[in-house]
């Protein structure tokens, strides 16, 4: 037997480990500030760069792609080498992966506060960064498959399958969801509109959770749990079923984010059915993890790393039971748009991803630095603070979500809404929002202690850049008598192809009919494209992240049509590139806001929401009143929108500016009538134009409304059926 000696690369693992620790602190602090802003609206100090709308995507991107992303690469780069008994395919590629990924994160940290966003959740980054993500991901894939190719271990352990599924699926999701037409260096429009955009986005969004936050971490669980407990996996058979069932079912479940929306019912039902099925593989995986510890529970008592791991796996179990429950339409009708969803995702993020990452860090640092952990006591402090922090975060959010959901739906015995003023339901939640911030702070305190502990561990040890290892060379003989899965799993290429097919089926079955069958989006003839001023106003709405707190999707419940007006129809969104349905109502739905209040109300409200709505937790937007509306890019925007399918007549770019000025002048007049003196070239004018247009097109048949630029009604219009 030809024994080969080689070295595992620890340098890049350490780099990812340091990055994940730093980004954990940054991402969570951004989250804490966002949480504080929800009960202290002035906490942004009236700075536009850190208003809630811009901070929220920064927080989610930092936690998902920076903290978990680097944590994932850290774990994969460490375990893949050891499972393949080979150094990473190419050191340069490893470093391109590291620096490229972190440069993207820095770009996100700069561009999101500047308001450069596509507004699509977890895919907010603009097109140049999207391209960079695709390139870096390809580098990661080459390195992954290259390492698998030059491995010395014949069989691919199940963790590697999870890595392969991650690599392939994230690439597909990212590319399909990011198809957009640029309108300048930092602005683009999704090629999909309305319902179709919503479906593609949530096919992406849900599977980003599945294939970025879950599958790679399951792979890591299957590696680090046996490693740390010194015991083999409870059942390898179960892990195989876990893998195939999970990747195959997960991809279908996206539409559960769109229950009771204008998405066709068949797609909603499909999403719900597959979501419920997901309980089985998820719990199979969780039990496989926990049972691996059978007979090793004494170690859990002594080893902080295992404590984190056990809570992580348990949190995974809880989140993956709750997810399917939330996907049941009747439950979702209460939970959707409330803080319940926030509680759910934080069980996953803080518990599953957070604790698993810390678990790996506590395991890796002593090994990378050839020493003992600096302080087991501090690690235990981190553990208990983290756990307590999680409780203080999640429980108030459940309370808040259910309270608000019920209040929205409450009718008086006479059949009127019990809480017709949305704000009333928000004010009930303020104590919960305060508690949530306490929970978040405890969790972050734990993280800081953890970072200190890891730093001291590194200081007391000596870093080992390369670990020497030995293994017999792999003889690449024919597959001969091998059969079934054994043959398959030793063929990484075939495994990848099958995994891709499994993943593509679900997506294709949902997405293709939505595009090829016209009947899925019934057209409404009175729905017209936005006017130039409204286009710019909509882009401001996107820039400010209004979609983070305001939905534009009235569900067909009496409690919603009473409160907001006629329920939203698929045909109303055919020119919405991207869709702005939103997924959370920290403020009321805005789909029928058009014409509900006078222009002057909006002006004053944006200046200071508490002028018009005492007690409101919405931030002030004074800069909209003073900043000049940027119109130079208008022709490029119109052209890009035409490219994605909005029927602006040829050459409209030349006339757009004129139309814009005309409409702006009308709004200035309206403002004057409302005792507000405003200049016509300010951003607020465009935003008012857009808000006043929202949801009004379907009324065109009832109330005469000539061109798109006609003055808008100034009185409250009842849209109730």
């Amino acid at each position: 037997m030809n024994i080969e000696t080689f070295k595992y690369d620890n340098r890049v693992v350490r780099a990812f480990a340091i990055a994940t620790s730093i980004w954990a602190v940054v991402g969570m602090l951004a989250g804490l500030l966002a949480a504080v802003e929800l009960f202290l609206p002035g906490a942004n100090l009236n700075l536009q760069y850190i208003t809630f709308g811009r901070l929220r995507p920064l927080h989610t991107n930092a936690v998902i792609f920076a903290f978990v992303g680097n944590g994932m690469f850290m774990g994969i780069y460490y375990s893949l080498q050891r499972l393949c008994k080979a150094r990473m395919f190419n050191d340069t590629l490893s470093w391109i992966n590291f620096w490229g990924w972190n440069a993207i994160i820095v770009a996100a940290a700069i561009s999101l506060p500047l308001g450069l966003t596509t507004s699509k959740e977890y895919a907010e980054l603009e097109w140049p960064i999207d391209i960079a993500i695709a390139l870096v991901w390809v580098v990661f894939c080459i390195n992954l498959f290259g390492t698998i190719w030059k491995r010395r271990e014949k069989h691919l352990y199940v963790a590697i399958w999870f890595y392969i599924a991650t690599a392939i699926t994230v690439a597909i999701l990212h590319i399909v969801n990011s198809l957009e037409v640029p309108a300048g260096a930092f602005k683009s429009y999704s090629i999909y509109a309305g319902v179709q955009d919503a479906l593609v986005q949530w096919w992406y969004g849900h599977n980003a959770v599945a294939f970025f936050l879950t599958t790679p971490y399951l792979g890591l669980m299957y590696y680090f749990l046996p490693k740390a407990s010194g015991r083999p996996v409870f059942s390898y058979r179960l892990s195989i079923i876990h893998f195939w069932a999970l990747i195959f079912i997960y991809i279908w479940a996206g539409p559960h984010h769109l229950l009771y929306t204008a998405l066709p019912d068949w797609a909603q039902s499909l999403g719900m059915a597959f979501s419920i099925m997901l309980v089985a593989p998820s719990w199979g995986g969780m039990l496989n993890g926990l049972l691996t510890l059978r007979g090793a529970w004494d170690k859990v008592r002594q080893e902080p790393m295992l404590k984190f791991m056990v809570v992580a796996v348990t949190a995974y179990g809880m989140a993956t039971l709750e997810g399917p429950m939330l996907s049941i339409k009747s439950v979702n009708s209460l939970s959707h748009y409330t803080d319940w969803t926030i509680a759910h995702v934080h069980t996953g993020a803080l518990g599953w991803n957070g604790f698993l990452t810390f678990s790996m860090l506590y395991w890796l640092f002593p090994r990378l630095y050839r020493t003992d952990l600096y302080s087991v006591k501090l690690a235990n402090w981190h553990f208990w603070l983290g756990l307590l922090g999680m409780m203080f975060y999640v429980v108030p959010m459940y309370w808040s979500g259910i309270t608000q959901g019920l209040m929205w739906k409450q009718f008086t015995p006479d059949g009127f809404l019990q809480y017709p003023n949305f704000l009333e339901t928000v004010l009930q939640l303020i104590p919960m929002y305060r508690l949530r911030a306490v929970g978040g702070s405890l969790y972050i305190l734990g993280v800081l202690i953890g970072c200190y502990n890891l730093y001291k561990t590194a200081r007391q040890g000596r870093f080992e850049p390369d670990t020497e290892a030995q293994a017999p060379a792999l003889e690449r003989s024919g597959h001969g008598a091998e059969s079934g899965h054994r043959w398959l799993e030793s063929k990484a290429g075939l495994l990848s192809v099958l995994a891709t097919v499994a993943v593509l089926i679900g997506g294709a079955v949902e997405i293709i009919p939505m595009f090829v069958i016209q009947g899925n989006v019934p057209t409404i003839s009175s729905v017209k494209p936005y006017s130039p001023l409204e286009v710019l106003g909509r882009d401001l709405y996107i820039r400010e992240g209004c979609v983070g707190c305001h939905s534009q999707m009235i569900r067909p419940f009496r409690s919603e049509t009473e409160r907001y007006g006629e329920y939203s129809k698929a045909g109303e969104f055919v020119y919405d590139h991207p869709f702005l349905w939103g997924s959370k109502r920290t403020g009321p739905d805005l789909h029928r806001i058009g014409g509900k209040y006078p222009d002057a109300w909006h002006y004053n409200h944006m200046d200071d929401p508490r002028l018009t709505s005492p007690g409101s937790i919405m931030p002030r937007y004074p800069w909209l009143l003073t900043q000049k509306l940027e119109t130079n890019s208008l022709p490029a925007r119109i052209a890009a929108l035409r490219k994605v399918g909005v029927p602006y007549p040829a050459g409209y770019e030349a006339r757009a500016q004129k139309d814009l000025e005309k409409q702006a002048a009308t709004i200035v007049q309206n403002l004057k009538a409302g005792m507000v003196k405003a200049e016509s070239n300010r951003e607020i004018i465009a935003l008012i134009a857009y808000l006043q247009r929202l949801g009004t097109d379907i009324k065109a048949g009832q109330a005469p409304k000539t061109a798109d630029l006609a003055p808008l009604p100034q009185t409250t219009v009842s849209l109730n059926p």
Binding site: K85, P232, Y236, F248, E303, L373, E468, H485
Partner: protein, 66 residues
């Protein structure tokens, strides 16, 4: 009112049938596959993470467990 939204099934008939067939096939296939595996192979795979070929770690063993 809800009926208005829900009655459209979108005419996806064939897609529905294809997908249920695919789903059933893949699922049963994966299950059968899994149960065809030999015990000896499964045992090897279960403990694969435990041997990483590290020279140093094998010398030092698990002594570094806290």
């Amino acid at each position: 009112m809800i009926q208005n939204v829900l009655k459209e099934t979108g005419g996806i008939g064939l897609f529905g049938i294809i997908s249920i067939c695919l789903f059933f096939t893949v699922f049963t296939g994966a299950l059968i596959w899994t149960f065809l595996q030999k015990k000896s192979f499964l045992t090897t795979m279960e403990s694969l993470p435990l041997s990483d070929g590290e020279i140093t770690s094998e010398l030092k063993g698990e002594a570094h467990h806290e």
